[in-house]
């Protein structure tokens, strides 16, 4: 009896030890990053490659690798059905010049759905273009020629335009963590659906994370008929730097 108890104790210790050494989630290894050239080689070998652009719908339609699926990181559920049926297909996720976030929901959804060959395109669409490969623009948004507002000029601008509305284009989580007082959250990923809720007669200022995405959003809104749209140069990153150092 004592021997059995000892066995049980050891078994319990072993289980705890196992849980300690191999915690939940430890099997979620980061996806392999693949160079554009390597993807092209795979395509030449007629492997079943499916590109998935995880940026917003507007960005994806403006510029994407030919035949890419447009499924933003946050768009799980509604667009999960767009994933290919062949679970052996190689899914290559890519964003803009910023790396695809580790917590991108659509990647986790693909893993859950049974896809095993998942890759992240190293350097994203920017690297793809730099390598000289083709892209397509199913719905190019003509860019609006409007000078951006520097962080240092934000307060004077707000004073001169008291009815101005600041639109934070980042994700709700990023917005929750910090935002400029008075800014509303309207994620870029759903802007093409929500822009009609914006006031047509007020000056708008679009703000993103680092200034690389607001240009397209401002151009889109101008194209949709909003006449006074500006963007914050350098986005929230520049705003924070300016607040710390007093310089842009």
């Amino acid at each position: 009896m004592r021997y059995k108890m000892r066995i049980i104790k050891l078994f319990i210790i072993a289980i705890f030890l196992f849980m300690f050494l191999f915690p939940a989630g430890a099997d979620q290894k980061p996806l392999p990053r693949i160079e554009p050239r390597a993807v092209l080689r795979m395509m030449d070998n007629r492997e079943n490659i499916v590109f998935i652009n995880v940026l917003s719908f507007l960005e994806c339609m403006d510029s994407r690798i030919p035949a890419s699926l447009c499924i933003a990181c946050e768009e799980i559920g509604e667009k999960t059905g767009a994933l290919p049926r062949d679970r052996n297909a190689k899914l290559v996720f890519y964003g803009g010049n910023n790396p695809v976030e580790a917590g991108c929901d659509i990647i986790r959804e693909a893993q859950r759905a049974g896809f095993v060959n998942l890759y992240i395109l190293k350097g994203g669409l920017t690297a793809w273009k730099r390598a000289g490969y083709e892209v397509e623009s199913p719905n190019h948004i003509p860019r609006v020629q409007e000078a951006a507002l520097k962080p240092g000029n934000l307060k004077p601008w707000l004073n001169s335009s008291p009815t101005a509305l600041m639109i934070d284009l980042r994700s709700p989580a990023a917005y929750q963590s910090h935002h400029i007082t008075g800014a509303i959250n309207m994620p870029l990923v759903s802007l093409h659906r929500t822009y009609q809720d914006l006031p047509w007669d007020r000056p708008l200022l679009v703000i993103d994370g680092d200034g690389s995405r607001s240009f397209l959003a401002a151009s889109y809104l101008r194209r949709k008929g909003f006449e006074n749209v500006r963007r914050l140069e350098g986005g929230m990153a520049a705003w924070q730097t300016w607040n710390k150092r007093g310089t842009p």
């Binding site: 273009k129 730099r130 003509p142 860019r143 020629q145 409007e146």
Partner: protein
Amino acid sequence: MRNRGRRGYGLCFALIVCLAIEGIWPAGIVRAAGDPSGGGRSCQSCHADAVFKAGFQSSAHGRNTCASCHTDITDLGRHMTGENKPSPVNCGSCHRDIASRFRKDVHYVKHNFQCQDCHQDIHSIRKSRDGFKVAAVENCSQCHSREDYTHLGHSGALLKGNGDAAACTDCHGLHNTPYYDPSLERDKAAARENYTRRCRSCHADAKMAKRNRFSTKTVASYDETYHGKVLNIGFPQRVAGCADCHLGHNILPKNDIRSGMHRDNMKTACKVCHKGFHDRFVAFEAHPDPLDPKRSPVLYWTNVFMIALLGGTFAFFWLHTLLWWRRTYCDKCCEGKAGFIEKTVLPECREEMQIQRFPVRDRIMHVLLILSFFTLVMTGFPIKYYDSPWAKILINFWGGAYRAGIFHRIAALVLCGLFLYTLWLSLKFLFPKREFRGSLQRLFGPDSLFPNFKDLKDIIGMFKWFFGKGDMPKFDRWTYWEKFDFLAVFWGMTAIGGSGFMLWFPEAFSYLFPGWMINVATVVHSEEAFLAAIFIFTVHFFNNHLVPNKFPLEPNIFTGRYRLDALRHERPLEYERLVAEGRLDEMKREGPGFWPQLFAAAFGLASLLLGLLLTALIFWAALFY
């Protein structure tokens, strides 16, 4: 009948018109649009705004028709009903070169711009009356904040009509504005190199400088700083380029608070790389001119002193060497009676009785000295002569400027250690067992490396011997040139070591000295390095190894042994002293074994050859670059 016939023709004409309206007309329009003489008038019947009516005909593309660019409108009916939407125009079908370059442009790579995003006035585009540069500024500043560029510096001059002043495209390129990812070190380095090159293209242009009354010395003096040298040799990763200090667009007088050169802003610029410095750090001259006594008097006089030191030292010792070589050569070849013994040949040494001249400690120290000295020369001189052809090869041998810097510092620490140890040994020699009595006698005695009155007499005697006016002086344990070698290290280590540490820790030294002392340290370090290297590789090498009766190598510093007959001939006073004191027998040793001799030959000759090669490279660079 005639009337009926006319009516018949009229009906036919009406039928033709109807048919044309039904089907033939649209194709006719497209054909007309494709006809240069037609000038796209048919398109204007719908696209009737002022741009198409007035502007297009006189625009740069006015000789084309609509269909020249909008090639995919082939069915006007479907186009008019909106079924056939034209795709964006492929400007690259004509502007192939621009399209090819634009594929690397940041506007395309990062922001997916297409031609019409910048050229929104494409239907009325024409040459600007104010010139291309002004047009470029106007176009770029549509999106890029105007306050940075268009109100300041270069553009101020450009908009006032100075065609030499830089437009956006002069620095950033046109249709090939490179994309640099700020998160990638290699991109940051490439950007720094590119923009520094762009600045240089105008600021080093003598004709442009004359026209615009600025000095090309700005570039030349930057090139002589550590920043400039390392950047120019091809490693811009960790040094400041032009835009790092001048903050891109704020090119204004330095007393303007908006200028990157304003004292307050310079601190911000310096802080990007240098941490924890005193405010006086910014007094560092990024464009020093050691030849201008008004601008930097201390730097000027330091430079004058160093040049005088170099000139004086080399004038004396090279003359000394030359005369010695002439005398011994004549003795050996013409008269057959050399002042010294015949040349040392290593295998013969085994058979002869020798004495212990250098203990193992001194030999190890000398080997370490050689290794550290060569490392310092081979890592430092490529930076000093960055523009010579061999500099890049040598710096790449070490794995780049940054790694060469690490080796340089390690070697410097080894050398400092040797120096401190030598200092300790010297004190022990002067004050054995803390005995102060007799230290003066020891200081000026025959075993001391400190010069005494006899050395002065020996110098005079040596010059007399050079000219055949007397015999060679009789030397004791140390000759005057050996004493000079030893004592020069004390000056050299103070000058080169002190300045080296200042350059290594400029931020810490800013708490002691103003920033321009870094410029002074640079001059001292550089000139003293030249003096040390060339002195060792020419004077020291000749005096100890290459003098005809010792050629090609005097191995006693490696083997530790000195031949007895050599002692008798070269240092007769020491020999007589040792005999008189009865110490000679206890110093006698067998000749060095095979391995010490092999090491001496291999290491010694390799060092000699390397030193001579480096001398040739240094002179090549100093004279021609």
